[in-house]
Every structure is written in structure tokens, then in C-alpha cells.
Amino acid sequence: MRDYQKKAEFIASFTRFVEWPERKFAIPDAPFVIAVYGADNISSLIQEAFQERQVKGRPVVVKHLLNKQELRGCHMLFVSRSEKDRLGPILGEVRRENVLTVGESENFLGKGGVINFVSVGGAVRFQINPDAAAREKLTISSKLRQLAIPGSSSGLSPGASELRLSDTTRSASAR
């Protein structure tokens, strides 16, 4: 539960460091939509994390969606761990739709997701797939990239051992 709170806050913060193409804001006064797909432990927490904050001058709407077809219209998509076996079709649905996809499954980036939450020593961290971001024409701030755990971009399916290795590198440089 603590982890989800943290993840909700992170999701709220991601919006600060990511730029979407103009296309996604073509309709004036349309809200900024964050969709949650799969088991929903997080949508209320996300709403809480934003509070009254707007994103790119628009109010934030968090939707728990069940229908894949509805996913294209959102700006950000959180895919719950419950959907880890169905990631391919889900991500395929929003491919090239300029959606910032966020997941919490081990192979999320390998399946074409942009940001994936991982747990390092009990703390919530995240990885970024720059290729996926580029494909979706999302500009991710270097500040966000600095904070991400590196090494995930090389392989499509990062193993656990690789993760641990990169974790030690990260903490060494921090000290």
C-alpha cells in the first residue's frame, strides 16, 4: 500500500518532466487524462497526489478503464501488475498514440513500455526506456533520466541479476 502511494506521487511528478507532442493537446480545455488499467489500487491515490494541480494548464482526470479501445485518448497509462501477462496487446493498443506508459512488471520495458517501477532494497525506483519514449515522441527531461535506474535500454528483457548490478552502480555513485 505504501508502495502505491509512492508510485502515485511519482506518476504525478512524471508529468513535470515529460513533454507530449502538440497533437495530444489539440482540443482546448480538454483535461489531462491518466488512465489506470487492470487491478486498480492506485487511481484514488493519483488523484490525491495531484490535488488541485494542473498539468500543462489543464485539470487532471484519473480514469479506471476496462476497455482497451478507450486507452488511446489518454496522456498517461498505468498498467497494473495484474496485467503482466497481457502486456503485449495492451501496449500494442496505444503504440504511436503518444501515451506515456507506466508499468510495474518486470518485462514492461521489453514489451515497449516507457517507464517501469522497480523495487530496489524496498524503495520504489523507476527505469526508462528511451527508445520507447522516442517512438512515442515523448520528450523526457534529462532530470528525470538522471534519476532513473540505467541499463534497461540495452536489453528488451532485463534479468534480475542485471538489475541488481545496476543498482549497486547507482548507489555507489550516489555516495
Binding site: R16, F17, K143, R170, S171
Partner: protein, 535 residues
Amino acid sequence: MKERVRNFPIKRKLRLVVLATCTAALCVACTALFALQFYFFQRDFRRDLMAVAEIIAANSTGALSFNDEGAAQENLASLRAKPQITGAAMVLSDGRTLAEAGRVKVPGPGEQTPTFGFHETSDDIIYVHPIMLGDERLGTLYLHADYSRQANKLHRLYASILVAVLSISFLVAVFVSWRLERVILGPIQNLAETARQITSRNDYSVRATKVVDDEVGSFTDSFNSMLEQIQARDDALMHEIAERKRAEEELQRAQQQLIDASRQAGMAEVATGVLHNVGNVLNSVNVSATLIADRLNQSRTGNLARAAAMLREQNGKLVEFLTNDPKGKVLTSYIAELSQYLEEERLEARTEIDLLTRNIEHIKDIVAMQQTYARVSGTTEVLPTESLIEDALQLNADSFNRHHIMVERDFMPVPPVTVDKHKALQILINILRNAKHAMDDADDNEKRLTIRTRQKDSQAVSISITDTGIGIAPENLTRIFSHGFTTRKDGHGFGLHSAALAAQQMGGRLSAQSDGPGRGATFTFELPLATPATK
């Protein structure tokens, strides 16, 4: 101090002016420069701090957004490159401290967040900077900078630069003024040297050489023309002085002659007085001598011889003759009578001879006094004041008698005086004679001369001689002792002058006072007391 500077030689003054000007200008320039520099330092110090804060804040938005302590710490660690920044902290908007480094103070959870900007403490400057992302405030950055240490470092640096610049420019100024002062001082020193030569050798034929054509040059010209004038005047003066000297010598010779003449005249006068006195006494001597001669002529010593012859005739019957002869009876009483008479005669002659002897003594005195008076003077002796006066009166006694002048003595007991007797007598006689003349010239008033002696003070005795003569006009009172002044038609105006001179030589003084014409005059002669050692 000002007075001392004014008395400096020009060389030093010049140097002082150059150095003072140089130092003052440098001080002002340095102060202005350093003030500016300091202002810039202060400004740049803050600007630098702001820039650093800006960079750190911009780089820390991610770390703050995701509460990433490691990344925040890493950002702050980069501040190590800035030595003046002693501490830094990143505080989230909810008051939690995300990261901190070095010495830093952040407000506690309950405390108010300080306003953004600079906060100065005694040693540090604290800069509080917001960490913004777009319009959203993510947190606050606190930077502590050690301002005072940096400023002190700068102060010390500036102070040493100031000292170095001042000392170097001082040396340069000394050198420059040393070179330049010759330009000004050379001609002046040349002039001064000429003036010094003139004074030391008294040679006004020397001329100063004109070196430059400035104020000193024109001064040199004036100086030279002044020298010419002085030389010309000097020559004229020399001539005049020689002339005057000759005249003076002539005058002196004439004066000496006059002195001699008057001295002789004075002596003659005294001699006349002496002769008068002696003549008077000689009268008495003559009378006494005649008297004695008459007495001796009328002496009855012959009767005694006859009685003796009578006795010799009665040789052998003397007893009978004396007892029976009537002649013999008378003879005895006659002899007794005769012897008594002879005794009386002897006493009378004795008295007359005493008188005669006294008169002869008197003559001796008068002659002795004349000798004293005529003696070449110069020695001082200690004399009773009264005897001095009496001697002077004695020499004038005859003429005073003849002119019916009454002498009144008002003597107080005074100590003896140290005088040159001859000069003192001369002065007194002179005054007495003047008094006599003054009273002769006056109308038929009472001719009275009062002589007073008083002790003036512990140093002097005064003898005042007051007459009832014609007196002295106030305008003459000051001139009375000057040479050649006289009111008498036969006077030579020398008596009182020489008397006053003589009084001065003796250490005394002579003064005169008068209430005006016809009211008499008083001459006061002050004489120095005999010092105890000479008593």
C-alpha cells in the same frame, strides 16, 4: 608644528609639498579604487551566490520531485568547488530536509520559512532560494556563505597593496622631487650664497649671477640693483663718517680745553675763597699778636727789678729794714701785689696765645683743604656725611657771611658714605655757590639755605640743599644738567653738567626740583653708602 614647518629650509618644504601632494592624491585614489573594488566584491559575491543557487535549484527539481536524497546529496556535493560556501541544504515544501552538507541551519518543522533572498548574520550570509518547477514550488535551497572571512581576506590584500603602492610611490616621489627641486632651488641657493658672501665679507661689490628668467631671475636683478644702491650709499656714508669723526675729534679737543679751563677757573675761585678765609683769620691773628705785644710793653716786670735792687742795698740788715724802715714795711705787701698782677698778666697772654694758635690752626686747615681740593683725585674713601658738608660750608663760609646767608642744618644721623672726596666737595661747593647766586639774584627776601641729610634707602644717603632763590622755570628743569646750559650771564654752563657727571661716576646722582621761578630750588645729591667691608 605649523611654526616648525614654517622654519624648515625651502628644500625641505619643497620636498614636503611634493610628498604631501603625492601621498594625498594616492590615498584618495586608492581609497576610491578600493571602495569601488569592495563594492564590486560585495555585489559579485552575492551575484555568484545567486547564480550557484539558481544552478543547484534547477538541477535539483528532479531530486525534489521524487524525494531522491541521493541525487539531492550529489547536487549539493558539487558545491565543494566553491570554498566560500560553507553549508547548503535542500528542504521540501512540507518542511522535510531532503539533503544537507556542511554547516547549515534550516528552520525546524514548526518554524516559519524565512523569506527568499539574503540574510546576513555576524559572519555568514545566508541565501534562501526557492526551487521551482514551472510555477510550482518544490522546495527551498539554503546556502551559507562565509562572507566575513572572504571580506577579511580581501581587506588584508587591499591593505597590503595600499602599503606597497604608497611606499613605492613615496620612493618615486622622493627621487622625482630630488631631481626637480634643483630646478627651483639652484637659482635661489645661488642668490642665497651671494647674500651670504656679502654678509660674511661685507663686500657689496659682489653681484649675483642671473641663472634663469623667472621670478627668481627678476628678483636677482632687483637684488643686484639694490646692491648697487647700497654700495653707492656705503661710499657716501664712509665719507660722511670720516668727516664726522674729524669734527668729533675737534669737538672733543675743544671740550677738553674747556674742561681744563673751567677746572683752572674753579681752582682759582677756590683759591680766592681760601685767600679770603685766610685773610679773615689773619686779621684775628694780627689783633692777637698786637694785643700780646701791647701787654708785654706795659708789663710791670721793671717794678719787680727795682724792689729786688732795694733789697740788695740793705744787705746785712735786711731784717731791720723790713721791720723798722717804712719803705721796707710796704715792700712786702708790694711784692705780693706785684706777683698777683704778674700772674693775671700771664693768664691774659696765655688766652691770647691760645686764640692765636687756634687761628693759625684754622689757617692750616684752610690751606690743607685747598690742597685736598687741588689734589689729583681718583681714590675713594669712607667719610662721615656731615664732615663732608661742613668742609664745603667752611670753604664758602666767608662769602655766605658777606652775603648774609643763614645756614640751617637739618641733619638726621646717617651712615658714612663712600666718595671721592675731591669730587664730592666740588659738587657740594658748586651747588652751594649756585644757591648763593640764586639768592643774590632774588629780591630782598630772606636768604636761607637749608641742608638736610637723609638715608634714602639701604644703598644711598641723600643731601638736599634748599635755597630761597630765584628758582627754576619748569622748562629749564630738564635742561639744567645739560652741557652749556646757564641762566647766568657770566656762567659757562659747565658746573652742574660736570657735577652731575661726577656724581654718576661716584655711583650717585644729582637731581633738581623747583616749584617755579621765585620759589626757590632744591638740589638733591645722592651718595652711595659705605659697604660694610670698606667701613
